[in-house]
C-alpha cells in the first residue's frame, strides 16, 4: 500500500513540476527579454509585474476556435501537439533532483532512455508539418527533422562521453560519481550537449524551422488555440528538461556546498541559471542560416565530440 | 622389343597428333615454309600422320603376337585420385588392328588433302582438326579407363563437327549440328552408364572390371548391369550406328568433305562397335546376355533396311546421291558387325571385328572414289551422273571405273576379298549362338542376314552398271573429258586395295590377333 502511495505521490510531483516549471521559464523569458531590450514586459495581468500573464494567455488559448484546415490530414494534425509534448513529461520523471532517491523513477539505462525519448518529440513537429498540407509547414517540418538529425548525433556523443567518465548509464549513478574536476574535463562535451539541445528545441539562434521571415511559423503555421499552446508548452518544457539534463550530466546535479539535504536546491538553481542562459542567447544572437546550421553541426560539433570522447577515454584509462 | 619401349611408343602414338594439332596452329619454322603457308601446314599434316603411322607399325611389329590376349604396352598413372580415375593405356589383339587402321586412314586422308584440299576456310585449322580427330580416335582404342574412354570418345566429336560444318558440301551446318546432337545425346547417356558402373564397382579401370566380372560378377548386380548396359549400349549404338538410331549418318556423309566421309565411315563408326566388344561384353556379361537377342534383331533389321534404302537410291530417277547410298550401305554393314557381336560367340565376335576392319578399308576406298567422281563431275547425284544410259566410266576413265567396280565387289562380300570373311563369320556365329540364347530366333536372324547379302549384291551391281557402263558419247549430251586416276590418288588408294586383298586372302593374320583376346574377353568359353 505504501508503495502505491509512494508512486502516486511521485507522479503527482512530476506532473506539477511539468506544469509549473515551464510556465516559470516562460514568464522569466518575458521579463528578462524585456529588460535586456530596455522595456518593461508584461505589467498588468495579476497586478505585480504581470505575474499572471501566462495564465491569461492560457485562458485565451483555451477559448480560441480550433481550426483544422480543410486540406489537412485531420487525425495526424490533431495528434501532433500531444506527440510533441508528452516526451518531455516522460523524461522529466527520470531526472534526479536530489540524492537518496529524490527522483521520479530511477531507471538503469536512464541516459539511454532520455536520449531515446527526447528524439520522439521531433516527430510531433514533423507530423504537424506534414499534416498541415501547407508548403511552409512542410518546409518547416523538414527543417525540424534535418535539424534534429544534425544535432542528435553530437548530443548523443557528448552524453556518451559522460557515461564513459562515470562508467554507468544511470542518471543518479552519474551524479553520484561526479567530481568537481569533471566540469573542466568535460567542458567541451557540456558545450556540445547544451548547444545541440538548443538546436533540438529550435531555440534561437537555431530557430530556422520557425523562421517567421521565411516560412511564417514553420510547422505550426496552421495551428490555433489549445493545440498551438501545447507546442509552446512543449518548447518551454524542453528548456526545463535540457537545462536539468545538462545540470545532471555536466554540472554535478545536487552536488554543492553544505548538506546533501539541500541538494535538490542546487539542482534547481543550476537549472535555473542555465535556463537564464537560454533566454539570454535568444536575445543576443541572430538566427543562423539553414546551411550554416547544418555545417556547424557536422563540421564543428561532431568532430569536437569525437575528440571529447577520445580525451575522456584517455584520461579515464590513465588515472586508473 | 621390350615393354617399356612399347609403352612409350603407345603414349607417343596418342600424344603426337595432339601436339601436332597444336603445332599446326603455329607459324611454320623457317626451313619448312614451302611455297606458301597453306602448303607448309598441309605438309605438316602429312608428316605427322606419317610419323604416327610409322609408330603404329613399329608398335604392331613390337607387339608380342604370341600373347595377343594380354594387355601390352600398358601405362598406368594416377590422374585424379579423388575420383579414382587413372591414365591407363594398353593394347591387345582387339585394339591393335583398329589402331593401325586409324593411323593408316588418317595418313591417307592427309596425303589426299595435300593434293586436293577441300574447299573451305584456311587449311591450318583443317590440319589441326584432322590431327585432333586422329588423336581422339587413337586414344579411344588405346585407353583402358572408362572415363578416359568417354573423354576420347567425345574428343572426336568436335573436330568432326567442324570438318563437316566448315569444309562440307550443301546443308553442312544442319547436318553437322544433327550429327553432334545425336552423338552427344548418346554419349551423355553412355556417360551415365559408365558412371553407374564406376561408382557401383568402385573403379573405372576396364581391365580390373573385366577380370572381376568374369569371376562371377562379384561387383555388379544384375539390375545394375542391365541399366548400365542399356545406357552404354544406347550411346554406342547411336555411334555404330544401329537401326533405328542411324538417321544422322546419311546426312553427315552427304554433307561431309571426302576426307571427313572416309574417316567417319572408316574409323568413327568402329568406335561404337569397339565399345560393345571392349565394355559391354566383358564388364556387363549378364546384361549382354539379356540384350543380345534384341541387339541381333535390330542388327538384321538394319541390314535389310540399309540394303533396301540403297536399292531405292540406286534406282533410276530416284535422285539418289552416291555418298548417301554408301552411307546407307554402312548401316547395313554395321548391322553384320552388330549381329556378330550379338551372337556372343568367339566366332561371331571375331567376325564382327574382322568386318570392322574390312568395312573401314572398303568403305574408305569407296568414299575416296565417290569423292573423286564428285570432283570430276561436280556432283554425286546418281541420276545426273548416269544420265539415261549410264556414266560410262569404263570408257572414259577405265582405271577409275575398274577401281570402283573392285571396291563395290569387295563391299558386297566376294570371297577372296576382305568383305567376305567378316560377314560370313558373323553369320556363322549367329547360326550357332552362345549357350542360353534362343537358337530359333538366331536362325531366323541368320536367314534374314543372308538375304541381306543378296540385296547388297543387288544394289551394288546396279550402281556399278549405272556408273561404269553406258554409251561413251551421246549425240544430244556431249560429256566433259574426264581425267583418269592421278598419281596422288593412286598413292592414297593403293594401300587400301592391297590390304583388302591381303585380308581377303589371308584372314589369319587378323584373326590370329583377335581370337585369343576375344576368348579372354568372353570369359574363356
Amino acid at each position: 500500500m505504501n508503495d502505491v502511495l509512494d508512486v502516486i505521490l511521485r507522479l503527482l510531483a512530476v506532473l506539477v513540476a511539468f506544469l509549473v516549471l515551464p510556465l516559470a521559464v516562460g514568464q522569466t523569458e518575458h521579463k528578462v527579454m524585456a529588460h535586456m531590450q530596455g522595456r518593461l514586459g508584461p505589467m498588468y495581468a495579476g497586478g505585480f509585474h504581470g505575474w499572471a500573464q501566462l495564465v491569461a494567455d492560457g485562458v485565451k488559448f483555451a477559448q480560441k476556435e480550433d481550426i483544422v484546415p480543410a486540406d489537412a490530414d485531420r487525425k495526424v494534425f490533431q495528434i501532433a501537439p500531444a506527440v510533441a509534448l508528452l516526451p518531455y513529461l516522460l523524461v522529466l520523471i527520470v531526472i534526479p533532483v536530489g540524492p537518496h532517491g529524490f527522483v521520479g523513477q530511477a531507471i538503469d539505462a536512464g541516459l539511454f532512455f532520455v536520449l531515446a525519448v527526447l528524439g520522439v518529440g521531433v516527430l510531433g513537429s514533423l507530423m504537424a508539418g506534414w499534416a498541415s498540407a501547407n508548403k511552409y509547414s512542410l518546409l518547416g517540418g523538414l527543417r525540424t527533422g534535418a535539424q534534429l538529425m544534425a544535432y542528435e548525433l553530437p548530443m548523443v556523443l557528448a552524453a556518451a562521453s559522460v557515461a564513459m567518465a562515470a562508467g554507468t548509464l544511470s542518471l543518479p549513478g552519474i551524479v553520484q560519481a561526479y567530481q568537481w574536476w569533471w566540469t573542466p574535463w568535460q567542458i567541451v562535451g557540456a558545450f556540445i550537449f547544451f548547444t545541440a539541445g538548443l538546436a533540438e528545441l529550435q531555440r534561437p539562434p537555431f530557430d530556422m524551422p520557425v523562421a517567421d521571415s521565411e516560412i511564417i511559423f514553420g510547422a505550426y503555421t496552421e495551428y490555433t488555440g489549445l493545440r498551438f499552446a501545447f507546442f509552446l508548452l512543449a518548447e518551454y518544457a524542453g528548456i526545463v528538461v535540457l537545462c536539468a539534463l545538462t545540470t545532471v550530466l555536466f554540472l554535478g546535479g545536487w552536488h554543492g556546498p553544505w548538506s546533501d539535504s539541500i541538494g535538490w536546491l542546487w539542482t534547481l538553481l543550476k537549472t535555473a541559471v542555465l535556463a537564464f542562459v537560454v533566454i539570454w542567447l535568444r536575445v543576443t544572437y541572430p538566427r543562423l542560416r539553414e546551411d550554416q546550421l547544418q555545417k556547424f553541426a557536422w563540421t564543428v560539433l561532431i568532430p569536437l565530440s569525437l575528440l571529447q570522447i577520445a580525451l575522456t577515454g584517455v584520461v579515464k584509462v590513465v588515472i586508473q | 622389343m621390350n615393354d617399356t619401349v612399347l609403352q612409350y611408343l603407345l603414349v607417343a602414338v596418342v600424344l603426337l597428333p595432339l601436339l601436332g594439332a597444336g603445332g599446326a596452329l603455329l607459324p611454320a619454322p623457317p626451313g619448312l615454309k614451302g611455297k606458301n603457308p597453306d602448303q607448309a601446314v598441309l605438309r605438316h599434316g602429312v608428316t605427322i600422320t606419317g610419323a604416327v603411322l610409322a609408330l603404329t607399325i613399329a608398335l604392331a611389329a613390337g607387339f608380342d603376337h604370341g600373347h595377343p590376349a594380354k594387355m601390352q604396352a600398358s601405362t598406368d598413372i594416377s590422374w585424379i585420385p579423388a575420383l579414382g580415375i587413372r591414365i591407363h593405356l594398353g593394347i591387345d589383339g582387339i585394339s591393335l588392328p583398329l589402331l593401325v587402321l586409324t593411323a593408316l586412314l588418317t595418313f591417307l586422308c592427309a596425303l589426299y588433302s595435300y593434293f586436293k584440299m577441300p574447299e573451305g576456310p584456311s587449311p591450318k585449322a583443317f590440319v589441326a582438326l584432322l590431327l585432333l580427330l586422329e588423336s581422339g580416335t587413337l586414344a579411344t582404342f588405346a585407353v583402358l579407363d572408362l572415363m578416359l574412354f568417354f573423354l576420347a570418345f567425345e574428343m572426336v566429336l568436335i573436330p568432326m563437327y567442324f570438318l563437316i560444318a566448315r569444309w562440307g558440301g550443301a546443308g553442312r551446318e544442319r547436318s553437322a549440328l544433327r550429327f553432334i546432337l545425336y552423338t552427344l545425346l548418346g554419349s551423355v547417356i553412355m556417360l551415365l552408364g559408365l558412371l553407374l558402373i564406376g561408382l557401383k564397382a568402385g573403379t573405372f579401370d576396364m581391365v580390373a572390371l573385366a577380370t572381376d566380372s568374369s569371376h562371377a560378377g562379384r561387383h555388379l548386380s544384375h539390375t545394375t548391369q542391365l541399366i548400365a548396359a542399356l545406357a552404354i549400349g544406347l550411346g554406342l549404338a547411336i555411334k555404330a550406328p544401329m537401326w533405328p538410331l542411324h538417321s544422322w549418318l546419311p546426312d553427315a556423309h552427304t554433307s561431309a568433305p571426302t576426307v571427313g566421309s572416309v574417316l567417319l565411315a572408316g574409323v568413327l563408326l568402329k568406335m561404337g562397335t569397339y565399345g560393345f566388344v571392349r565394355i559391354v561384353l566383358p564388364i556387363t556379361p549378364g546384361a549382354a546376355h539379356t540384350y543380345a537377342p534384341y541387339l541381333a534383331a535390330f542388327a538384321v533389321i538394319g541390314i535389310i533396311y540399309g540394303s533396301l534404302a540403297c536399292l531405292a537410291l540406286a534406282r533410276g530417277g530416284s535422285g539418289g546421291d552416291l555418298k548417301r547410298l554408301i552411307a546407307y550401305s554402312s548401316v547395313g554393314h554395321m548391322g553384320f558387325v552388330l549381329l556378330g557381336i550379338a551372337s556372343l560367340t568367339p566366332t561371331g565376335v571375331n567376325g564382327a571385328l574382322f568386318a570392322n576392319i574390312a568395312h573401314g578399308l572398303i568403305t574408305g576406298l569407296l568414299f575416296f572414289l565417290v569423292g573423286a567422281l564428285k570432283d570430276r563431275y561436280g556432283t554425286s547425284d546418281l541420276d545426273t551422273l548416269a544420265g539415261h544410259t549410264g556414266a560410262a566410266l569404263y570408257g572414259k576413265a577405265p582405271r577409275l571405273g575398274g577401281l570402283l567396280a573392285f571396291a563395290a565387289v569387295a563391299s558386297l562380300g566376294l570371297p577372296g576379298l576382305a568383305g567376305f570373311w567378316g560377314e560370313m563369320l558373323a553369320m556363322f556365329g549367329a547360326f550357332k549362338p552362345a549357350a542360353g540364347l534362343h537358337r530359333g530366333a538366331y536362325l531366323t536372324f541368320t536367314a534374314i542376314a543372308a538375304f541381306g547379302t543378296l540385296l547388297t549384291a543387288a544394289y551394288l551391281l546396279v550402281v556399278v552398271r549405272r556408273v561404269n557402263m553406258g554409251e561413251r558419247e551421246t549425240a544430244d549430251a556431249p560429256q566433259p573429258v574426264l581425267a583418269d586416276i592421278q598419281t596422288y590418288e593412286f598413292a592414297a588408294w593403293t594401300p587400301l586395295v592391297a590390304l583388302t586383298v591381303l585380308a581377303g586372302l589371308w584372314p589369319a593374320v587378323l584373326l590370329g590377333l583377335t581370337d585369343p583376346a576375344v576368348r579372354t574377353l568372353l570369359g574363356g568359353n
Partner: protein
C-alpha cells in the same frame, strides 16, 4: 523485478500524460466556439489563395542528412555498452584503442561526406 517496476511507472506516466492531453482537449472542446467558414479552413499562404498542392515535392537535400544521421546514430549505439565497461578492470588500453578505431570509422565517414560536398549547399 525492479527492472519491470521502473518501466511500469514510466508506462503509468505515459498514461497520465495521455489522460492529461485528452482532458485538456476535451475541456477545450467545451470552452471554445465552433464557427467554421470556408475562408478559415483554407490553407494559409500569407493571405493570398494557395497555389498548387500543399504536399509539394521539395528539395531532397535533407535526405542526405538523414542518411548520415542514421548511419552515425546507429554506430553510436555501440558506444554506450562499451562506455560503461571500458574502464573496468582487465580492459584498459587495448579496449580504448579498439574504440578509437571504431571512432576512426565514424570520422572517415564524416570526412567522406564533407569532401563529397554533402555539407555545402551552393
Amino acid at each position: 523485478m525492479d527492472y519491470f517496476h521502473g518501466y511500469s511507472v514510466v508506462g503509468l506516466v505515459a498514461v497520465v500524460g495521455v489522460l492529461f492531453v485528452a482532458v485538456a482537449f476535451g475541456a477545450g472542446r467545451l470552452l471554445r466556439p465552433v464557427v467554421p467558414t470556408p475562408e478559415k479552413l483554407l490553407t494559409y499562404e500569407c493571405g493570398v489563395d494557395p497555389v498548387g498542392e500543399g504536399w509539394a515535392h521539395t528539395q531532397i537535400r535533407y535526405y542526405v542528412y538523414s542518411f548520415l544521421y542514421v548511419v552515425f546514430a546507429v554506430d553510436s549505439i555501440f558506444l554506450f555498452p562499451w562506455a560503461t565497461v571500458f574502464a573496468a578492470k582487465g580492459y584498459g588500453g587495448a579496449t580504448l584503442v579498439e574504440m578509437f578505431v571504431f571512432l576512426g570509422f565514424l570520422a572517415v565517414g564524416l570526412l567522406y561526406a564533407w569532401k563529397k560536398g554533402v555539407l555545402e549547399w551552393t
